[in-house]
């Protein structure tokens, strides 16, 4: 199994990582990390360069990456960058020649300079690549599978003491009596004082079924011992409008119109299952419209495709172009929310997975898109590529396309400049060509966020709810129309 995974890249989008005692939240590389890995040297550096060349969908040249890396190397050592560096490197082409060149540099590669050098090297690599160590890769996988084993808490450091910022309702900590704001004074009898967040997290982790004893203390209260058996923490990936009690959501924006708001926090393997359950509940409550809030969060592309399929009866969902294939994703017969209209929300920051889904829903006329044109994120599929020593790389390995084959892209400079003020200059039908590469909402909600005095509420949700409730609201309006009609 693992071999198969290695031989073919696992293509999925980078998870906008949920913080569940996440090691990435802790800052510096722990000693653990340093001892596990091989030394960062010229050969290791070139291996990363070659991996990018081999797997990236639009990689920079080998010399460009080496040049960027070497510049950062000099900077890391506090040395000035030699004047002829760029010319020297551009004259070398092959892997061997460049490796030899790196070995003769007056500045050395080592673990200490690794973050700086990689940051420099990645500068001109599109799609924000990342190097992930083996442990982090494992945690990410279990999180993505929504089978994270732990005690189900999120953690921060408050005045050098680890403090629980929230307790997951679906985890074992909650029923055991772990509370938000609890300070963790001891773990299995060992005081936590002086420990960094990373090592606290390591101590809280363990295999499913094992127990961990905690000494907890609410602010201004006495300490209390609690034992928690580690288990699977189910983290809902779909939330409603507001949580009425732990794990219980109210979906309806208002009771009269029966329009439900579903916030897709993350696309994971459980998302479709959650959607089916919510659909069944909302159907029995006679929901008349669905607002799918796709604005924030990340997810795996595979799960986005499965989700899209649940909303579409047939036709193309979209395509994914990688170096060695072009996968066309077709919706299968049967779908949820039959005969119930849908509005899907996007925003300037919405990620590629969300844009891909919004495009599919828009193209198949299953949903009206409401919000703002996503402009900030690059539209790549990011996939993991395995390196030696359990390291993995997250790389832009594919392009996302609409069902008609148009590549989805981040709006160009020109498009972005148009987008900043008269937003609707880019409304569908008013532009030729490039508009198919970006998703233009059917109902653009202009800045500022409260077009007609919606105070303290989410204007985009509000607009979507109104659009569904009051079917007379015309979509594709001019900016003036948008505010007048609301």
């Amino acid at each position: 199994m693992q071999i198969l995974y290695c031989s073919r890249m696992m293509i999925f989008l980078y998870l906008g990582l949920l913080l569940v005692v996440s090691p990435t939240a802790t800052a510096p590389a722990s000693e653990n990390e340093a001892t596990q890995k091989s030394n960062f040297d010229a050969v290791h550096f070139m291996a990363i360069v070659e991996t990018i060349l081999e797997h990236h969908i639009v990689p920079p040249t080998r010399q460009q990456m080496v040049l960027d890396g070497v510049k950062a190397l000099y900077a890391a050592h506090g040395q000035p960058i030699p004047a002829r560096l760029s010319k020297e490197i551009s004259e070398l082409a092959s892997l061997e020649a460049l490796t030899d060149y790196l070995l003769t540099l007056p500045v050395q590669f080592n673990e200490d300079v690794k973050p700086t050098v990689l940051q420099g090297m990645f500068e001109n690599v599109p799609g924000v690549p990342r190097l992930i160590d083996a442990e982090e890769a494992r945690v990410q996988e279990s999180l993505q599978a929504n089978r994270y084993v732990g005690i189900g808490i999120a953690l921060t450091m408050t005045a050098d003491v680890p403090q629980i910022s929230s307790v997951m309702h679906g985890g074992p900590g909650y029923p055991a009596g772990v509370k938000a704001e609890d300070f963790i004074l001891e773990i299995d009898g060992q005081p936590t004082t002086g420990k960094d967040l990373g090592s606290v997290v390591q101590e809280l982790r363990g295999d499913e079924g094992t127990a961990v004893s905690l000494l907890l203390q609410q602010p201004n209260d006495s300490a209390r011992p609690i034992t928690v058996v580690r288990g699977v923490t189910f983290i809902p990936t779909i939330e409603g409008l507001n949580e009425v009690s732990p794990g219980q959501w109210n979906y309806f924006a208002d009771r009269e119109s029966k329009i439900a708001v579903l916030r897709i926090k993350q696309f994971g393997p459980s998302t479709v299952h959650e959607l089916k359950k919510i659909e069944s509940q909302l159907r029995s409550e006679n929901a008349t419209g669905i607002v799918l809030d796709l604005r924030e969060g990340g997810g795996r592309l595979h799960d986005v495709v499965l989700f899209a399929d649940q909303l579409l009866d047939d036709g193309a969902i979209g395509e994914v172009q990688t170096l060695d294939s072009n996968s066309i994703h077709q919706a299968q017969p049967g779908s949820l929310f039959q005969r119930i209209p849908i509005a899907a929300l996007v925003d300037v920051h919405s990620g590629p997975d969300r844009v891909f889904l919004a495009a599919a829903l828009q193209d198949s006329k299953r949903a009206k898109i409401v919000g703002r044109v996503p402009i900030t994120q690059e539209m790549f599929v990011r996939g993991y590529v395995d390196l030696a020593d359990g390291e993995r790389m997250l790389l832009a390995t594919g392009l996302l396309k609409r069902g008609d084959g148009n590549i989805l892209q981040r709006p160009s400079q020109r498009e972005r400049s148009l987008l900043t003020s008269p937003v609707v200059a880019l409304a569908p039908g008013k532009h030729e060509g490039p508009t198919r590469s970006i998703v233009i909402p059917d109902l653009v909600v202009p800045y500022p966020a409260n077009p007609d005095g919606i105070e303290g509420r989410d204007a985009v949700v509000e607009m979507a709810v109104r659009m569904l409730a009051d079917k007379t609201i015309e979509v594709n309006p001019t900016p003036q129309d948008a505010s007048e009609s609301s």
């Binding site: 199994m1 198969l4 073919r8 993505q144 599978a145 929504n146 089978r147 393997p269 459980s270 479709v272 299952h273 089916k276 359950k277 069944s280 159907r283 029995s284 595979h302 495709v305 499965l306 399929d309 009866d313 047939d314 060695d324 294939s325 996968s327 066309i328 994703h329 077709q330 299968q332 017969p333 049967g334 779908s335 949820l336 039959q338 005969r339």
Partner: protein
Amino acid sequence: MRNHLAAVVVSLLSSLATAPTSGAHDGGDMEDLRQATLLRRPVALICNEAGSKLFTANRDSGTVSVVDCDSLEVIDEIDVGGQPADILVVKDGKRDAIIVLDTANNQLLVLRRRGDVWTVSSRVAVADSPVRCIANQAGNRLYVASLWSRAISVFKIEDLRVSPIATTRLPFEPRELCLSSDGKHLVVASAFSGQVVAIGTENLKPGIFKSIPCHNIRGMAFNGADELLIACQKLNPIAHSTRDDVHWGNMISNLLLRVPLEKLHEASGSMDASCIAMQLGEPGNAAGDPGRIVVGPSGELAVLLSGVQEVAIGDLQHGMTHRAQVGKRPIAAIGQGGRLFVANQFSDSVTVIDWADSKSNSPVTVSLGQQPILTEAQFGEQLFYDSRMALDGWMSCHSCHTEGHTNGQRNDNLSDGSFGDAKQVLSLLGVGETGPWGWNGSVKTLKDQVVSSIENTMRGSSPTEAQADAIVAYLEQLPAPPRTADANQWAAQETDSNAAGLTDLRVHGQQLFRSLKCVRCHVPPTFTSAEVYDVGVSDAVGNVQFNPPSLRGVNFRRAFFHDGRASDLKDVFSRHQHQLAQPLQEEDHAALIAYLRSL
């Protein structure tokens, strides 16, 4: 063999220790002993009108067990022979009769009673491989579904006699039948795919053929006059057979579909947008292979979960709120006097459930008799239909390889070495002789394929050696689909020629099959070969070498090539020009198809 003998001796001894269950026979001790150790395999059951007696049709023993509904004891076992598949009770005034559908001899048996002794009084021929029968409310019409003949036959019941009226042919293999409350429509579902049709009972004329977004339909019932309930499964070709996708129900889901009857009659429009799905089971506790649906008088609902030895109980408003434990492979059920009677095929038993209060009252199990120790293939059959072989109980082998055939769907699993290109589920009928296995022919033994499917597709625990061997033994004795006379008739109808003309056509087709060199890859008698070939089709991940599927029973498939790109045998040649140097002449095309359909 030695093991088997030992098993018989052991079970004989053990049955001596218990009292024989049937007392109504006069055949003496040996007869009692024989019956006591029969493998019965009840597959259908029915109550008499008074609700005092329950009759089960026992497939393997060729018997009908009679259970007293009050004492819950087996009071008789009637030897009817053959292979009973379904059972009905009809009444005429004070007299009653049992009708048994015999799959082995393609007959309807009418059993009449003299005192307490039932005997077969008449036999009526039905179209080959009958699997299900149903009578109308008035008790004067009987409808029979014949699987491989693709036929629905209607019979008149008069004076407790059964006589044929008419037969209609379908483009699919029928299994489940359901009559509308006004008796005007007979809804027929495909045994394999999601095809459904409402047939007018007056003229036996099929209405519009509709495709429901599901497959493996094993339960149909009317909820009132306007809504049809369908218990089925749905395999999603977009999902991958990963642990995650299986666990979260992304790959296969077990469903109760609500279908508005009017939509079945609409000339246009797909059913996709009309069916509302109720999910059965959940991650960690799935409900593999949903089966028979029973609707109670006040809207209460029971759905057999055939793969996980349970019955889901609830109603449409609140959902299926409770699950009751029953025996192995609950396959048939009826509601009677506030109780649910469930036939457990592989336990040789009937479970009786207090339907109104199934939560607090434990079910009662009525054994139909002692079972002998199973042969390897019999054990294999049990495992083949056991959803607990898969992660969480989501599916059994039967979920995709329906009754050993194929559900006609695609699945994206690792049998081709990667995810990204779903492949057509292959039929296992005759599979013992058609190695190597898998679309790319990479699996050299059937056992390897069985183990791989359980581990990598169903994501179940690794089967034990004995389990894997048993499933292989079961698969090896699955015959290729029968080349029945009825199939010939169908072919004749399709090709517009009489029987003699059809023979000529086939002879010509056979010559073409040779002259076009089809035999190079599809070598008789199995019509496959051990090699892989590049026939100019490629999958989405770049595989071009495929092992040719056997052409035996190709008449009973709906999708061709690894991805099902041809949905009709004719398309294989007309649209895809499969291995043709030049397009076929129309007569040649028809001849080749006629020949292939006869394999």
